[in-house]
Point group: C2
Chain length 564, copies 2
Amino acid sequence: MMGALKGDVRTINGSNDMQEDVFMDGLMMDFPLTLDLVLRRAEQHFHHKEIVTRMPGKGWHRYTYGEMAVRAKRLALALQSAGIKEGDCVATLCWNHYRHLEAYIGVPVIGAVLHTLNLRLHPDDLAYIASDARDRMVIVDESLLPLLNQFKDAVGFEKIIVVTEQGVAPDGMEDYEAFIAPFEAADYVQIPLRENMAAGICYTSGTTGKPKGVVYSHRSNVLHSIGAGLESGIGLSERDTLLPVVPMFHANSWGLPYAALMLGPKLVFPGPYLDGETLLDGFASERVTVSAGVPTVWNALLATLAVKKDDYDLRCLRKLIVGGSAVPVSMIQAFDEKYGIGVVQAWGMTELSPVGTVSNLTSALLEAPKADQYLYRAMQGTPMPLVEIRARGDAGLAAWDGETMGELEVRGPWISSAYLNRPDAADRFTEDGWFKTGDIVTIDPVGYIKIQDRSKDLVKSGGEWISSVDLENTIMGHEDVAEAAVIAVPHPKWDERPLAVVVRRAGSSLDEATLRCYLAERVAKWWIPDAIVFVEEIPKTSVGKFKKTALREQFSEYQFQQSN
Amino acid sequence: MMGALKGDVRTINGSNDMQEDVFMDGLMMDFPLTLDLVLRRAEQHFHHKEIVTRMPGKGWHRYTYGEMAVRAKRLALALQSAGIKEGDCVATLCWNHYRHLEAYIGVPVIGAVLHTLNLRLHPDDLAYIASDARDRMVIVDESLLPLLNQFKDAVGFEKIIVVTEQGVAPDGMEDYEAFIAPFEAADYVQIPLRENMAAGICYTSGTTGKPKGVVYSHRSNVLHSIGAGLESGIGLSERDTLLPVVPMFHANSWGLPYAALMLGPKLVFPGPYLDGETLLDGFASERVTVSAGVPTVWNALLATLAVKKDDYDLRCLRKLIVGGSAVPVSMIQAFDEKYGIGVVQAWGMTELSPVGTVSNLTSALLEAPKADQYLYRAMQGTPMPLVEIRARGDAGLAAWDGETMGELEVRGPWISSAYLNRPDAADRFTEDGWFKTGDIVTIDPVGYIKIQDRSKDLVKSGGEWISSVDLENTIMGHEDVAEAAVIAVPHPKWDERPLAVVVRRAGSSLDEATLRCYLAERVAKWWIPDAIVFVEEIPKTSVGKFKKTALREQFSEYQFQQSN
């Protein structure tokens, strides 16, 4: 029977219009992965769930996902009425709060593009990126008007919408509530969206060069949101109460706003209050189960807890997602052993929407000794489903042996393929379509990555690589060290040698010789920095990372006292 | 600044080739969601994880995901070498075992289409569906050759590959091991796949009419697999040990084979042994954490446990996913209270890949009384992320009030848009692109669906609807009832009235009057069946559901004794 049919044109559904290659397609719905789906899910299944915001003055604003959806639609209608069309960029300059969430969903569902401006950038950079993205309008917190005023004229926004306390916006600007007031959610009609349409823009706050625009699509945001719900991701669910400390103006807010709308946790926004005490008060009073932020935040939290542990009931808190910089084992251990809170490290970049890997313990590690677990929890983890990794060293692809270093390359459906208006940055992508992260890693046999360094921060000593990050973490393991950064300094014999820049803990009188002995017991002899310089402070970027460019500049004339 | 630029052609990457509408796209990788990604994930991250199979003779076969991947590639090469090209269908007629898994992934990664034949169908039906799908080859278990021999000539397979015990296939057929033996995994080269390509075919084992072919795409299988990892799905992860009782020849095996390869649990295949004792032995000895199957299986398990509870250590078992038919509260309660095992009900259809909803408890229900929890756990649950639901009654879309009945309609990226070669079945889809499930449901305010009936099984009494399923479950709640089915019988006054067909528990002498009193306390008076008939057995379909068509035929001449 088959023989007679071979070579025939195969048709589906009995239609003769369909050609042979059509048979090859599945007969599944052409159902685009677009954010209107996320909005509908939020309003249909989570309308009763709470969204709580810490307001200026520290009181709480409370409403529900249902009310949020209504207001997001009113914002969408207001923007359409003001002339915003598909592909137009609408900027925000806001802290984490409920109106920012309304913009997160209300802007892209009309096909417009949400551009979250990073309020920690210099006004000149903000002028550059808002112009580069051609932002037509901006939604801005009243408290951030002084910042906006420094660059708004350089951009020429058509409309400035101000999130105010009293409903009064400055002349020439519009109050957010007044802006959405004339519109009724019932009038909202969902336009059809394509899944590859742009939905959002974030600029990388690179430590060198001009910021570069990363353009998220509806598809990438939807897929990334589902990833957040995986046990092998961050395991977020409707049963959680999520407090995102990570700013909504930074790296797509780690995808958490869309993940929340997709998965339905109670949401708690911290507003502008990111200090240890206010956060802890929020964790306790709102019974937060999951939070997410950079190590600096959790360090501050630990410091507060050290003196006020009994003031806060943290029994609900089960997971702190930490990203942005590597987490020292000591921090993971402190949260675990003193407070029973699990610190889960995630690694990502703005270009990855931003989560690439999460350091969950595998079934094998769950049965391993605690010390081994800490070792792995301090790594950057294994890739989320749909993300693929490899590392490239000087000799081609690096073996997955946990030892060979190489630059991490990644690919997947929520990873950048290019930067906005930046053909000069094409060298960040390989010819076969992978993104070069710039991070030097080792990959272990099951795919745990450990970041050894930023590519440009590696110390290349006599043809071998020294991981500045590893050295920093080892130095910071000393009880008298508050912070430590390691940079490469030119060396006549070895090309480069490490210089450690160290901040002592308050009250300590740690000296170079002591630290040198401490290191001798912990790292290879040739890794020991040629010099250790004590300083009062290490310069940091807008998101709290060590600003190594500044350090390198500061020590550009540095000469080692002795040659070895 | 913006003003001057409005109306300009907007370009990305500085290229002038790109037109205005291109700017609207995100700058994310064009990364297709195809099953080769799943194969790579399995081999890169889970190569050390075990896959265990209960073999004929009840011994265990053990190997790893890594060995599985190697052998799947060898199968892929063998199929290519035998002339299988993109879009060609390769059938399987197999139980749940490791070689079936090799086919699950080895067939679609070369662009071919895996067609899982349901070994419980009649040979005439198998001949029909294998011909309808134009299956070129078949992989068959040695033990199922007697079945294959009844329809193979009607299909004319080019090649029959036999999974044998001793490596000897009958004349004119090929041994599976001999078939893949000449090929080396290292020679495997992944061809590019498109995400909308067909990856698999399953036929619905409908109770009426010819089976209809559902064609899965790579995209639908990949997305569905991620769904399985969600807390709000079935929460599968690398930490689990999964024993899929649901056959790999039925409804895409609930998507579990691909979910496993994506997420990395230890896998335990039961082979052909689905009886309570052998399953329990497997659960205990392999420390299974999650299993999945139809209620019949779990009923058998409960019966075995009732007499041999102490023989099995089930402390690892945390979740039984139940689907295929509605689960009575009594079963959920028995597992929960006697054995501490969570029964999670899922609802789906072959056309949904197959999972549509899962009855996980929401945060609110977790704080509700146990009795309320059981009530909700006995419902079909809320839709997985990416699946949308609505119900249509006689008066348009039904309100989400938990009371108004309507036919459930669904849409989403893993839901059928058409059947293979069946333009006559176009009425199963709405004009605006939803699939009509044929299930009559109520939807509660947060989207919990409760199946009241199959559309065709509803009893339409005096213009009102009576749920036969609800009645059946209520009747089966009586301790002396083993099974009960309710069908509509024509009635001169009320159009239709319910007739209950009941199987007594062994040793019981339950009579109609007693059961009638029992029902009077539990359902509306007009729902009480006009007659209750006791029988020895209720006819069932190949997958263990009540065969109502057969019952209706059996009672087609039935006349109620009294009119009411």
